[in-house]
């Protein structure tokens, strides 16, 4: 067992395009669930819509990368509106089931062979970062950057920088929104919808706005991930939604920085476990095969989620008074 490599891989997970994409999606969920109290279990669908809208805009319609990414945002907004109209008037658990179903519908539509020309079916889409000029817009000359575990090549550095800028903007936006009068209404809806309605606010409109903003964060998460890896329908499964929920609840649902920290912790733990468990199995310390060892970390994710929700539902950074599990 080489602890040096394990430590290196673990620390590297602090800043990767995947961690950034997760943080963006978790930030969207924080808007939905943490602040507005909307039980969105379809965040993987928002990510898929963002990623596919970007890739399809480039590959099918020949848009430049920045316009295609804007289309990804537009796609997320449309998905939010489409989803919100029938479901936002419903109680929490109905919304949860409807959103999870909508995300699956989106994934199955991307997966079907009926639209292979556009969606690439099970193979997914690739080559759009070159075709759309995202790679050409890379300001860094070829080479190796960074130090220690955080060493990136030219391409990854560009995606990381891009993701960091997007994430910083979204964090700032969420922070600014939540200290504005709009944010107070949103938190009020979470605590007591009827009280806010009695104040003469259009609760449905506020919820819809929250769903759209969080959905755009989720879509941006999908875009950042697409800028790094190929778009594949196998990524946007319901498990992804549950992993993002775990990351969100780790950090604290009703916080601005919680989702970001939660995603980092989630991926650092994942990287650590995915390195250390197979290593322990190979070294004969754990009496299991290395395939079983890599399955074990998902068992731990599930257990972690259960324990977290039972014993510390406000997350690591959350405030117990701002507990979102009011109902």
């Amino acid at each position: 067992m080489d602890w040096g490599i394990i430590l290196n891989n673990t620390l590297a997970a602090i800043l990767t395009p995947t961690t950034l994409a997760f943080a963006l999606a978790a930030l969207g969920l924080a808007m939905h669930f943490g602040f507005a109290g909307l039980l969105n279990f379809g965040i993987a669908g928002f990510m898929a819509i963002g990623a596919y809208s970007y890739a399809i805009s480039v590959l099918t319609f020949g848009f430049p990368w920045w316009l295609a990414m804007l289309m990804g945002i537009v796609g997320s907004i449309l998905f939010a509106i489409l989803l919100g109209i029938p479901t936002l008037r419903l109680r929490g658990d109905y919304l949860a089931i409807a959103t999870i179903a909508a995300a699956e519908i989106a994934r199955l539509l991307f997966l079907t062979t009926s639209f292979t020309d556009v969606t690439g079916s099970a193979d997914g889409l690739f080559g759009y970062n070159n075709a759309g000029g995202f790679n050409d817009a890379n300001p860094f000359p070829p080479g190796s950057y960074g130090f220690g575990p955080w060493t990136y090549n030219r391409e990854t550095l560009w995606v990381v920088l891009f993701g960091l800028v997007v994430l910083a903007l979204c964090v700032w936006l969420l922070w600014a929104l939540m200290r504005s009068p709009w944010g107070r209404v949103i938190k009020g809806i979470r605590e007591d919808e009827d009280a806010i309605r009695a104040l003469g606010k259009n609760v449905f409109a506020y919820k819809m706005q929250a769903l759209i903003i969080g959905g755009v964060f989720g879509g941006l998460g999908g875009i950042v991930y697409a800028a790094f890896a190929n778009v594949s329908p196998g990524v946007y499964v319901t498990s992804l939604t549950f992993f993002i929920w775990t990351a969100l609840l780790l950090g604290g649902a009703a916080t601005v920085f919680g989702p970001v920290i939660g995603s980092i912790i989630f991926w650092v733990l994942q990287a650590f476990l995915s390195n250390v468990l197979p290593a322990l199995a190979t070294a004969g310390i754990l009496p299991i095969s290395s395939t079983q060892a890599s399955t074990l970390r998902f068992v731990l994710v599930g257990l972690g989620l259960m324990l977290l929700v039972i014993f510390r539902p406000q997350g690591i950074f959350g405030d117990k008074r701002e507990l979102t599990f009011v109902k």
Binding site: L90, S114, L296, F298, V299, G302, L307
Partner: protein, 433 residues
């Protein structure tokens, strides 16, 4: 084409080219022949075929084979032959890419997609004969009847799982996302008894159902009851059930791995009943068991004291408790029953798919939710009705939409129901809150 006076010359050209499809030739052609361009030969099952025009093989025609979670592309060799290995014994759709056919040759009816089921021998043949001949098809009416019966079979099985989910929701308010894993658990328990311990299957299935019942009791005693005592909210409980779902799912994968495994008798031969309806003995027994269990359950819910108490708790838990009903005891019985029925559904689902896989329950979890929502959350008979409708819808919809989109129909129905009648078919308005 000089004799052509319509505006569609290309249609006329296709006229001489007729597709002759042979679905599921039991014996098959020498499928794994050396010349066939083949993909995935290391996989346990396979689909192969020929693409021919006037008896001549066509080279370089692209085909794709796709099924649940798997797809592969292949190109025909000089003799028009191809082979694709597939990982599971299930339905796959074979698509012939018309643009790779020689100039002027096309698929006449615009349907270059065919569904193929991996047969008894683990190999299936899907031939695209493009040349003169007669098309061999089953009439639409016959297909519809056949699909309806498969749909009822699937719906009955879904119903077993949906009723339990609905009862748990009715009595505890929990939308249990781990219900899919309770389905998988039953199938894996049957695998444990029937295959690993080699108990005869007629004894292994009741043992598996009993173990599932025990699993339900253990979940209630070890997790849900303590959480109810702590007074944890239903949204929190729902997320706990998601954590439980992940845990159980990956624990199952930890033990049985990622492969599909079969129960004894899964490949019992199909019997032609009438028209295009061919059911195996297993299908018939499965439907019989489902109906018997549902009837017994209905009797329990309507006539026995515990059943009445269950309905009382579903209506108003506080009032039920105040009138002397032991809510904890009833909820425990509901968990045991729900888990046993979900386990039985898992065994039947393992025969219907066919195969046992670690994520098989998750695959139908949303269909179960769709059934429960359609019927009305918390109503047992509504859930059963919803399951029948969803089952029939899923099976018949593949006549109209591509087979790989058949679950989409049911999920769209779920959202439409929420839009127009959120309380479901048999639910009451007050529940939507």
């Amino acid at each position: 084409m000089q004799f052509l006076d319509t505006a569609k010359p290309s249609r006329f050209m296709k006229f001489s080219l007729v597709i002759f499809t042979m679905l599921m030739l039991g014996l098959g052609l020498p499928s794994g022949s050396a010349q066939a361009d083949s993909v995935g030969e290391e996989l346990p099952f396979g689909v192969s075929g020929n693409v021919k025009v006037d008896g001549q093989g066509v080279e370089g025609v692209k085909l794709s084979v796709s099924g649940p979670g798997y797809s592969a592309n292949v190109e025909t060799d000089a003799n028009g032959q191809w082979f694709v290995g597939v990982p599971e014994r299930t339905n796959y759709s074979v698509t012939l890419d018309e643009s790779t056919l020689p100039e002027g040759i096309a698929v006449l009816d615009g349907e270059p997609v065919r569904e193929v089921e991996i047969g008894v021998g683990g190999r299936s043949v899907m031939n695209f004969f493009i040349g003169e001949g007669e098309r061999n098809t089953v009439s639409f009416g016959d297909q519809l009847v056949a699909r309806l019966i498969y749909g009822i079979n699937f719906g009955l099985m879904l119903g077993l799982a949906a009723v339990g989910l609905s009862l748990v929701f009715g009595t505890t308010g929990l939308s249990n996302f781990a219900h899919g894993e309770m389905v998988t658990f039953g199938a894996v328990a049957a695998l444990l008894f029937g295959v690993i311990l080699e108990v005869p299957i007629w004894a292994a299935i009741p043992l598996a159902v009993a173990l599932s019942a025990g699993f339900g009791w253990a979940m209630d005693a070890g997790l849900w009851r303590p959480l109810r005592k702590r007074g944890i909210g239903i949204v929190q409980l729902m997320i706990v059930s998601i954590g439980l779902s992940l845990t159980v799912r990956y624990v199952i994968q930890f033990f049985i791995g990622g492969d599909t495994q079969q129960l004894p008798g899964f490949d019992s031969p199909k019997i032609n009943l009438f028209g295009a309806v061919a059911l195996s003995a297993t299908d018939l027994i499965s439907m019989g068991i489902s109906i018997a269990v549902i009837l017994a359950f209905a009797y329990w819910l309507l006539r026995t004291q515990t059943g009445k108490a269950t309905r009382a708790i579903s209506d108003n838990p506080d009032l039920a408790e105040a009138s002397g009903i032991d809510v904890d005891k009833v909820v425990r019985i509901v968990w045991i029953l729900a888990s046993a029925m979900a386990g039985l559904a898992g065994v039947l689902w393992a025969y219907f798919r066919p195969g046992i896989k670690w994520d098989m329950g998750t695959q139908i979890l949303l269909l179960i939710f769709a059934a429960v929502t359609l019927g009305g959350l918390g109503t047992a008979f509504g859930a059963f009705l919803g399951a029948l409708i969803v089952g029939i819808l899923v099976e018949t919809s593949s006549l109209f939409i591509p087979a790989d989109l058949k679950y989409v129909g049911a999920l769209v129905v779920l959202i439409v129901v929420l839009l127009v009648r959120p309380q479901g078919l048999l639910g009451r308005k007050q529940r939507i809150g």
